[in-house]
């Protein structure tokens, strides 16, 4: 049994027709760092708030550490929460903020004081305990909020875009600090963000969400390299998406704008059907002269080349679709010119077959 299990979660707000979250199933192991990644309004916060107990699922179950928490009020769940707006209590000093949860739990003073000192040390603010929140910078305030949430030794730590109110430089250093503290304390963490770099760099696993559904769950490596749906491919990373017509699924052959390409494996699709495929830009090259049959070739029209020093970025059109790829700068070759027809080559492994987005599948039914 996993530490946190969300099963068939659905949340329907009474005044909205479409559910904010549906078909949500997730298992999180103890000590794991999981991110919810997706565009604005896709249901990340709603899902997190259901775990915290601030929102109640319309149906489905939430089990934390073997205990079904549906119906357990938020203040009995022992879940730490960090908010985008810090939400420090303005009337209390930093130390009092951190000790608040322990005071509410009526822990003895002899336990609270050393714990507060320990937390202050953890966030490198030992000298700021007597300050008020308004006397700290945004980054410091968010560290205090983190310490406050962790002081009660929660079973689960939930963070809702904790860095989006901060400026870019602090964002990077603080996210590393959050990850380090999470490793150090071993707390299971769920982190909501719409920033893919943040999700990639922090998480053990990422849940990509769109329109209230999970699109894909996987390690950052899997999500980036093997997106399964059109949505994930376009939201994460820089894959080129083109529409292809299925020629023979058992042989893995397809046709893009009348030009044949072959995938590495056989796949499951109907003959003549149009499906979305992604082409990995980092596997593409300009060398169209190889005669190797194992290599795919597409003739494209150059739209734009950008010289970036060590690399050259080429954007090319294939009738309806645009593909973009980087090649290493080679002083012996002239840059492709705008309007020029060139041949791009890529191995079979560069082709990735995408399912339509989960939401779209449902719509077809």
């Amino acid at each position: 049994m996993s530490f946190l299990e969300l099963s068939n979660i659905r949340k329907q707000f009474s005044n909205v027709a479409t559910p904010a979250v549906q078909d949500f199933n997730l298992k999180v192991e103890k000590g794991e760092f999981v991110s919810f990644l997706g565009p604005s309004g896709c249901g990340k916060t709603t899902t997190l708030r259901m775990i915290a107990g601030f929102e109640h699922p319309t149906s489905g179950s939430i089990v934390i550490n073997g205990k079904n928490v549906i119906g357990v009020p938020a203040n009995k769940r022992k879940i730490g929460m960090v908010f985008q707006s810090y939400a420090l209590f303005p009337n209390m000093t930093v130390a009092d903020n951190i000790g608040f949860g322990l005071r509410v739990a009526k822990r003895p003073k002899a336990e609270i004081e050393p714990r507060v000192a320990e937390m202050l040390k953890l966030i490198h603010l030992s000298d700021k305990g007597k300050r008020y929140p308004a006397q700290l910078s945004g980054g410091q305030q968010q560290r205090v909020a983190l310490a406050r949430a962790l002081a009660i030794k929660p079973e689960l730590l939930l963070l809702d875009e904790p860095l989006s109110a901060l400026d870019a430089k602090i964002r990077v250093s603080l996210r590393n600090e959050i990850r380090a503290i999470q490793r150090q304390t071993g707390v299971t963490a769920i982190y909501v963000t719409h920033d893919q770099e943040e999700a990639m760099s922090l998480s053990d696993r990422i849940v990509v969400m769109s329109d209230g559904r999970m699109e894909q769950v996987g390690t950052p490596f899997e999500i980036y390299n093997f997106p399964q749906t059109q949505f994930v491919a376009s939201f994460v990373g820089t894959l080129n998406q083109v529409q292809a017509r299925v020629v023979d699924p058992s042989a893995g052959t397809l046709e893009v704008e009348g030009q044949p390409i072959v995938a590495a494996k056989a796949f499951d699709a109907r003959k003549g059907e149009t499906i979305a495929v992604a082409l990995r830009p980092e596997m593409m090259s300009l060398d169209g002269k190889t005669q190797d049959d194992a290599v795919n070739r597409l003739v494209v029209t150059v739209e734009e080349t950008t010289f970036l020093g060590s690399i050259v970025r080429t954007r090319a059109r294939l009738r309806e679709s645009v593909i973009s790829f980087d090649t290493f700068n080679n002083p012996n070759l002239a840059l492709p010119q705008r309007g020029e027809k060139i041949t791009v080559a890529f191995p079979r492994e560069a082709i990735l077959l995408l399912k339509p987005s989960n939401a779209a599948t449902e719509n077809l039914l």
Binding site: A52, A74, G80, F83, F100, G101, A105, Y132, Q135
Partner: protein, 270 residues
């Protein structure tokens, strides 16, 4: 630049004169209780009257009780409406404005009519007549004062609540294990300090000089005493109004200093 500074000063001076000349007049008058002598005779005489102390203390007690009662009534209500029932907000705002439209005299006659006999449901008496004893009449008086102060208290509490992010603060406190009571008294009220103080000051100002409710409920309050005094004496009422002005200013200065500290905390480096 010069021109606008000049006119700014001009209007400020005019406003100050408008406010201070009558006050100065009252003060000057209050010092002339004895012929040809400038002195504090009016003050000593006013303070020597036992009825002054009795009614003044009574009204202050009622003011304090009204302040506590209205805070306990209004803070949780305004908080709950903002947090959970925002759609009720226009209705609640309308109710809090009613005391502006309904004169105190109507209010007090309504009270007397309703509460001077048993309130019963068939044979069961729910509430005995409240006007029968001094104590229960005081309850009516406080209820009336809370009503009169409602528009001011509600508005300042509501503004105070809007100035902080009560939803997130509530959720943060809940996630740390706090229940409603803790949230109300350890998070919401302390952060409303400035709003509560200004609401309290306004309530105080209304209650201490209030005439209608106290007269018709027959309570020995300061308002009726001052009115009585005004009918029979000339210098003492002037002395007492100067004193009450000074008291009010003292309260305002106090509030200024107390709220300055908390404002520095609330609005800082955001």
């Amino acid at each position: 630049m010069k021109r606008s500074t000049f006119w700014g000063l001009f209007w400020v001076t005019l406003a100050a004169l408008y406010l201070f000349v009558p006050l100065w007049g009252a003060f000057d008058f209050s010092l002339r209780a004895e012929r040809d002598v400038i002195g504090v005779a009016a003050y000593t005489r006013a303070f020597a009257d036992d009825d002054f102390w009795r009614t003044f203390i009574f009204s202050n007690q009622m003011a304090l009780i009204s302040i506590v009662a209205s805070i306990l009534l209004i803070v949780p209500t305004a908080y709950w409406v903002q947090l959970k029932l925002p759609q009720l907000r226009p209705a609640v705002e309308f109710i809090t404005l009613l005391p502006f439209v309904i004169p105190a005299i109507i209010l007090v006659f309504g009270y007397i009519k309703l509460y001077s006999s048993d309130i019963a449901l068939g044979p069961i008496t729910l509430l005995p007549p409240l006007t029968n004893s001094d104590f229960s009449t005081n309850i009516l008086l406080v209820a009336g004062y809370v009503t009169l102060a409602l528009p001011y208290m509600y508005r300042s509490v509501d503004n105070g609540l809007r100035a902080m992010d009560i939803r997130t603060l509530t959720e943060a406190a809940q996630s740390l294990g706090a229940g409603w009571f803790t949230i109300m008294f350890r998070i919401i009220m302390p952060n409303l300090r400035a709003a509560l103080l200004s609401g309290a000051l306004l309530t105080f100002a209304i209650v201490v000089g209030e005439l209608t409710l106290a007269t018709f409920l027959g309570r020995p309050a300061f308002g009726p005493y001052l009115q009585q005094l005004g009918q029979h004496k000339a210098y003492e009422p002037a002395a007492l109004s100067v004193v009450s002005f000074l008291l009010t200013w003292l309260a305002m200065v106090l509030i200024y200093f107390v709220t300055r500290g908390s404002n520095a905390q609330v609005t800082g480096a955001h």
